[in-house]
């Protein structure tokens, strides 16, 4: 890390600049509705001014025109426009590759190619540039809502259902998403990042997800790996090639490569990792992970350095 200048590597979270087809459709509808609302507001103010200037009652057709006909036209247009927009957002392309995203309190489990190789990651969704991808949205506990304003529309994750939407990211870069449905104490701390990569880099990323996690190649990193293995971390977390199978918590095989810690909330670095492990419940109240404040100082440092080295 290079100091404060890295701040701009955070993903932006805005629906006013679109980097995906779904966000495009939403942005057009938002703009059209705002313009229409402004025009109608000005018309109504003009009518009020006219009524105030005239000392005799106007024609009854003003009421029919302004109170019935105009609203029917305006609302009818909006219904048609938003129906088409919803159709565009919710369109599912059956031939597109599938990425499965599962909401948990309070993090996101991500499986690339769930029908095939089932490559697992967490809290950072990597998408290929300009290629339609179908997101298969599920939840493991309560209702969450998946929303990356710059890429696509919002879609709920409902227990017992799989909601699907096909998105196409049209701009490479880093974008921030957020759980958009209240889901518990730390709902405001449940974000994630979307990284859009050109095809070649995307393929390299998937290849990376197939291989084992980076080796612990110093004494301190090896100590950290042993702490990870012996202190119960493996009951919930998996690291490929070290301890596999556990799925209650985020996969940590490449945690050090992610930009953020705690589901899009803190900068990924040794300091935040150590603080997180020692006092999760303070950083993210209500999370399933217990605070590991029984580790000795050197053990805590070792495991934090080990996790940061997994890239």
């Amino acid at each position: 890390m290079n100091g404060p200048s890295t701040l701009d590597t955070y993903g932006s979270q805005t629906s006013f600049s679109s980097a995906g087809t779904g966000a495009d459709a939403t942005l057009v509808l938002t703009t059209a509705m705002s313009v229409a609302a402004a025009v109608i507001f000005l018309l109504v103010m003009g009518a009020v001014w006219l009524a105030w200037r005239r000392d005799r009652p106007g024609s009854v057709w003003w009421i029919w025109g302004g109170g019935v006909i105009l609203p029917v036209i305006a609302l009818g247009t909006l219904v048609v426009a938003s129906t088409f927009t919803l159709a565009a957002i919710g369109r599912v392309d059956d031939g597109a590759p599938v990425i499965e995203v599962t909401g948990h309190q309070y993090w996101w489990d991500i499986v690339h190619d769930p029908e095939g190789r089932a490559l697992r990651d967490a809290n950072e969704i990597v998408l290929p540039l300009n290629i339609p991808v179908t997101l298969s949205l599920k939840t493991e506990d309560v209702i969450h809502s998946f929303w990356v304003p710059s890429i696509a529309g919002k879609m709920d994750m409902v227990p017992g259902r799989i909601n699907r939407m096909t998105v196409t990211a049209t701009e490479a870069g880093r974008f921030r998403g957020q759980c958009a449905e209240f889901c518990g104490l730390s709902h405001p701390l449940m974000a994630f990042e979307v990284v859009v990569l050109p095809q070649a880099e995307y393929d390299a990323y998937l290849e990376d997800l197939r291989s084992e996690a980076r080796d612990a190649d110093t004494a301190q990193l090896a100590r950290g790996r042993d702490v990870f293995l012996n202190e119960g971390c493996i009951a919930c977390h998996a690291i490929r090639g070290v301890a596999e199978g556990a799925r209650l918590g985020p996969d940590l095989s490449r945690i050090g490569a992610r930009a953020t810690l705690g589901a899009g909330m803190w900068r990924m670095n040794v300091g935040n990792l150590a603080g997180w492990i020692a006092d999760v419940q303070d950083m993210k109240p209500g999370a399933q992970m217990p605070s590991y404040n029984h580790l000795s100082g050197p053990d805590l440092r070792a495991v934090a350095h080990y996790l940061a080295s997994l890239k």
């Binding site: 100091g3 404060p4 900068r267 670095n269 300091g271 935040n272 603080g275 006092d279 303070d282």
Partner: protein, 171 residues
Amino acid sequence: MQGKPVVPLTLAGVAALVLVAITLVSVWSLAHPQRDPVGNALAAMGARLDGVRSWYAQGPVEASPDWQAMRLNVPGGDAARGRLAMVEYGCGACHVIPGVASARGTVGPSLDGLARRAYIAGVLTNAPGDLTRWLMNPPLFSPETAMPNLGVTEADAADMAAYLYTLGPDA
């Protein structure tokens, strides 16, 4: 044996000599006002006394340097940059740091009022150079500490130390 007394030094004699000397010096001084050894000596002494008197008049607080500020001055440290660096390194995950975004951790001690502390982590004196070196590699000074080596550069450490020394020096 009794000799003839040389001029007897009586009290009256001494007084007469002093009077004669004063008279001669006075006449000489009046004759050469620019070359007044006594007056010059008195004037020089007065000027020195004036200096001392005005030093006392100014009072010891205003006139003496701000030792506290000098003691906490971190050479090359920029407190504003340090405040941002603390967010980037994740200091707030473990420490309460007034003025740093979301720094409300309870893993380690609060850094409020750090400028008034005597020691850093109980192992180093609370001086700018020591604080900078501590931030760069805590386990080097305290092998059992839970605070990791965050890979802080020397420039960033100086910036952070400068910010930390703005916390509570005058409270």
